[in-house]
């Protein structure tokens, strides 16, 4: 007998658990579903509310599909259907029976359009349905979307859900959300508790905006003090975050400049060629990344797509390096010692390269996707958002610089290169084929520019004009840092990046750039050889 009672009790529990999501009559559900296909976003919101209110478990997938823009009306019979992209067509599912309805062309369907406001409202409705979801991550998201609208109903839903919540993380999230909603409570004790609860949480500007009015003019002195205290703490925190963020942004801009300039530090800095086609080497590298990406998309499974960037790096080095060697052998070697003609010739080459790329790939921008591991951001501290692609580029720029420095210092080619640039005739006398060393040096500089192009394709445009955007900055960095010095390039790029980013919030992007240019002009007047001037005979030549 006790066993039977237990069984009965368990059954009762199961029914109770399933109660909020009991299935309603198909006709009622279908009618509520039809309601979604109305004109006007306010009407659609009301219809979505009504659908959720049926309490039917089938409503949730429909609402999710609607929010994602996957809910359609079939033109033939006006029936709402769920559609998933399947190649050129859409694979349809019946939301009532869950049956597979085959595929249809998108012109046979009318999409139930959603906009930002409706999407937000849907997120809140879905949130209410998902607040009892077994997955804590879902519940967490649900709390966040419910908390966005601060209506009494939303507070009620949260309070009810808090009763059953077991996960401590989700609990605190709910408590904070409730605290935020009760800041306007007429009861001073409730307000004080709310402020104190918020003080234990995330010190974000959003919280400051909510609490600031209380700190200004709350009727109760204790609430006012607590709020003022909280606002001060948030402001201190935000200041620290701001400074760190500024520094990071400076480093990140600096590393972009560094990448663009390392190649030039070799072709211009070491060889003394005023290479106006340097930007186009960067561009070639970016296009190589695009071609490699397309090849990966076409021939390799999706799983390894993220690796295309790794493959692009050596490919871009080879492509840009080969073009560089060809340029040196074909044109530039005849112009050594005539800087003006070199400048004009390389400028012409840069225009030709641009037009060649434009003819092959077309004028519009090409999309080079960030691999999944480079998208998004890392929130190091609340409010301190470091985007992954920027972090990756900082690391990559330093790695390239280290590789170049090591190659110049420790390889036989590096030794020959330094020998040729320091004293050409002596090096030739020692049996070094100076012509080949020149070609390979130019190739190395160009190849590194190509590698930079791969990285820069991750933060900016890939278009035939890509190089133009970087050529001036590259020269600026090399001249400022000191012609011929790799450390100069590092110091030059980083200081220009940081100075630029410190100036930008105060002076604006436009004026900031101008100020930096003026600063460089003045600096060059004082130290014509840049930050790190080379010493010795080569520097005097």
């Amino acid at each position: 007998m006790p066993r039977l009672a237990a069984l009965f009790f368990a059954l009762l529990l199961a029914v109770a658990a399933a109660a909020p999501a009991r299935a309603v009559d198909d006709a009622v559900f279908a009618a509520a579903l039809k309601g979604l296909a109305v004109e006007g976003f306010a009407e659609k919101t009301a219809a979505a509310d009504a659908l959720a209110a049926t309490g039917d478990p089938r409503a949730l997938p429909v609402l999710r599909a609607m929010a994602a823009g996957n809910l359609y009306v079939r033109k033939a019979d006006d029936a709402p259907v769920l559609g998933e992209r399947a190649g050129r067509d859409l694979a349809l599912t019946d939301p009532v029976s869950g049956a597979d309805l085959g595929t249809a062309a998108s012109r046979d369907l009318t999409k139930i359009t959603v906009n930002n406001v409706l999407r937000t409202a849907l997120a809140a409705i879905i949130g209410r349905l998902e607040i009892a979801d077994p997955d804590p991550a879902r519940r967490r998201a649900a709390v966040e979307s419910i908390a966005r609208d601060s209506t009494p109903e939303a507070a009620g839903v949260l309070r009810a859900a808090l009763e059953h919540e077991a996960d401590p993380g989700v609990r605190t999230l709910m408590e904070r959300a409730l605290a935020r909603m009760s800041l306007a409570s007429p009861d001073a004790a409730v307000r004080l508790a709310a402020v104190e609860s918020l003080a234990g949480g995330e010190l974000s500007p959003q919280v400051r905006a909510l609490v600031a009015p209380l700190a200004e003019s709350d009727a109760d002195a204790r609430v006012r003090d607590a709020a003022r205290d909280l606002v001060e703490r948030i402001e201190l925190r935000l200041m620290i975050v701001d400074i760190t963020l500024n520094l990071f942004q400076g480093l990140s801009l600096g590393s972009v400049l560094l990448l663009a300039a390392i190649g030039l530090a070799i072709t211009f800095g070491v060889m003394g060629v005023i290479n106006m086609a340097h930007g186009e080497m960067i561009m070639l590298g970016a296009y190589t990344a695009f071609v490699v990406q397309e090849a990966f998309r076409a021939f390799l499974p999706d799983g390894v797509f993220g690796l295309y960037l790794i493959v692009s790096i050596p490919a871009a080095f080879l492509v840009a390096g080969a073009v560089g060697v060809a340029l040196e052998r074909g044109i530039i070697r005849f112009l050594y010692g005539r800087p003006l003609e070199t400048l004009l010739a390389t400028w012409g080459i840069s225009l030709m390269l641009q037009q060649v790329v434009r003819s092959i790939f077309g004028a519009p921008n090409k999309e080079v996707a960030n691999p999944a591991w480079m998208t998004g951001a890392w929130e190091a501290l609340p409010g301190l958002v470091l985007t992954w692609n920027r972090v990756a580029i900082i690391v990559f720029a330093l790695a390239v610089l280290a590789a170049v420095a090591l190659a110049l210092r420790y390889t036989a080619f590096g030794l020959q290169m330094r020998a040729v640039t320091q004293n050409r005739s002596m090096a030739a006398g020692m049996g070094i084929r100076t012509g080949w060393v020149d070609a390979l040096t130019f190739g190395l500089g160009s190849g590194i520019a190509g590698v930079a192009g791969v990285a820069l394709s991750q933060v900016g445009n890939v278009s035939p004009n890509l190089g133009q955007a970087y050529i001036v900055d590259s020269f600026m960095v090399v001249v400022f840092g000191g012609v011929g010095s790799l450390w100069g390039v590092l110091a030059g790029a980083m200081s220009l990046g940081i100075v630029n980013k410190i100036l930008e919030p105060y002076a604006g992007a436009m004026l900031g750039k101008i100020l930096v240019l003026v600063f460089i002009i003045l600096f060059i007047q004082k130290r014509p050889r840049g930050l790190f001037a080379l010493k010795g005979r080569a520097a005097e030549a």
Partner: protein, 428 residues
């Protein structure tokens, strides 16, 4: 049958014969030349090359249908290479050397300003297909893109409405040149007239091709954290958009938090961006490729057949060229000549059924009446239309929100005959 009737018939016959004869002569006559003045190299090639192809497509189509006034039409394509002074030189070459009947060209306002004196001096006819800042009406230019009241103002009104999220705080971000500066001046005046306090408007300008958006996006985030619904109105132009949107996506700014409405970002610009993280950001135009009309299907089909690539997109300036070219051919047919003064008279009131599915009319201020559409970016790089006007809206050449220009009228017909007058030239 009386003699008179016979005579009449004879006359009619003779007339028909003569007409056939002149038609025969005309067939052998020189083709009608039109100029295409779009940059095919340099910064603007990214946008303008497509417009050159659009005109070539229209010419091709017209010639297949028998040409114009019994003559073939020939497009003379020149490349001003995104170089503003070169635009003026090439325009002179087209008008004086090639003697073209009309020119289709320019994208940036600065290129238009550069060719304007040439067209006015030589009495040419320019069709300008891009949305712009207004505050202009030249006798020698027909503006087939949107004026601010056909794009910027309706977009801001949408965001202010309940459907748009009742935005209270505004960031006006633009590239630093004439179009964004003038548009933002108009928008600021408009917002203030709607009771938005000055503190709730943030204006920011960046150089052409700006690529490092970290600080500005962080600033926007900070500005938006004041507890009021915030939106960004972007007049950022050209290449700078790709890094801007990449930065938005990476910093996790969703359209449901801070929507960005752009006036220079269309299907063509989105082709270079992965849009899966940008769903919900907006753009305002007079045409979207996603418009569901039979006219648009035909337009897209024609484009794909001409360019031999079904992946290519169509966009608003292309549609503007489509409308402009059709209007010009209709006006030439009506005038019976390609003479600029005659065609100009015939242009007024000219009506074309556009791919957007509306009857587009040319007004006497040289601007069009066009519908306004607001679209949200979708994951496939297309726009979903979330709001559109019921009827076409007439362009204001002069904005009523700028006090100096509110007084001005543009009307090139009697009694005004003026592009910027406070009173008619031929009163009484």
């Amino acid at each position: 049958m009386s003699m008179k009737a016979l005579g009449l018939r004879g006359l009619a016959l003779g007339g028909a014969f003569a007409a056939a004869l002149t038609a025969g002569i005309a067939q052998a006559a020189e083709p009608i030349k039109i100029g295409v003045l779009h940059s095919l190299s340099g910064t603007m090639a990214i946008s303008e090359t497509t417009l050159k192809d659009t005109i070539l497509m229209m010419v091709d189509d017209l010639n297949k249908k028998g040409g114009l006034l019994g003559r073939k039409v020939e497009a003379v394509v020149v490349d001003p290479a995104s170089n503003w002074p070169l635009f003026a030189e090439k325009a002179r070459e087209l008008l004086q050397k090639e003697k073209v009947a009309a020119v289709f060209g320019c994208w940036t306002s600065v290129s238009r300003k550069s060719v304007l004196p040439v067209f006015e001096e030589l009495n040419g006819m320019l069709f300008y297909p891009v949305q712009y800042e207004g505050e202009e009406s030249s006798r020698n230019v027909f503006y087939t893109g949107a004026a601010p009241n056909q794009q910027a103002i309706p977009a801001v009104e949408y965001l202010m409405s309940p459907d748009g999220g009742e935005v209270k705080r505004w960031v006006l971000a633009g590239t630093d040149y004439v179009y964004p500066r003038t548009t933002n001046k108009i928008l600021e005046a408009f917002l203030i007239s709607k009771g938005v306090p000055k503190d709730d408007i943030m204006v920011n300008y960046t150089p052409f091709g700006h690529s490092d958006w970290q600080t500005i996006v962080a600033d926007i985030k900070r500005f938006a954290s004041a507890g009021k619904k915030t939106a960004v109105v972007s007049t950022i132009n050209g290449d700078a958009n790709v890094p801007f949107y990449k930065e938005l996506a990476n910093q996790g700014i969703k359209a449901t938090d801070i929507p960005v409405v752009a006036f220079s970002v269309g299907e063509e610009e989105l082709a270079g961006i992965d849009t899966s993280n940008l769903v919900g950001h907006l753009a305002a135009w007079n045409y979207f490729m996603s418009v569901d009309t039979a006219e648009n299907d035909a337009f897209i089909k024609q484009w794909h057949a001409f360019i031999k690539d079904t992946k290519r997109v169509t966009n608003d300036p292309m549609e503007a060229h489509y409308i402009g070219f059709k209007m010009w051919t209709q006006a030439v047919q009506q005038a019976g000549t390609t003479d600029v003064d005659a065609v100009r008279q015939a242009m007024y009131g000219q009506k074309v059924r556009s791919p957007s599915g509306y009857d587009i009319v040319m007004n006497t201020n040289h601007h069009l009446s066009k519908p306004v559409m607001i679209g949200e970016i979708q994951a496939d790089g297309q726009f979903e239309i979330v709001s559109k006007t019921d009827a076409a809206i007439k362009a204001d050449a002069w904005s009523p929100f700028i006090p100096e220009s509110a007084k001005l009228t543009a009307d090139w017909t009697f009694p005004w005959v003026c592009g910027n007058c406070t009173e008619p030239k031929f009163a009484k």
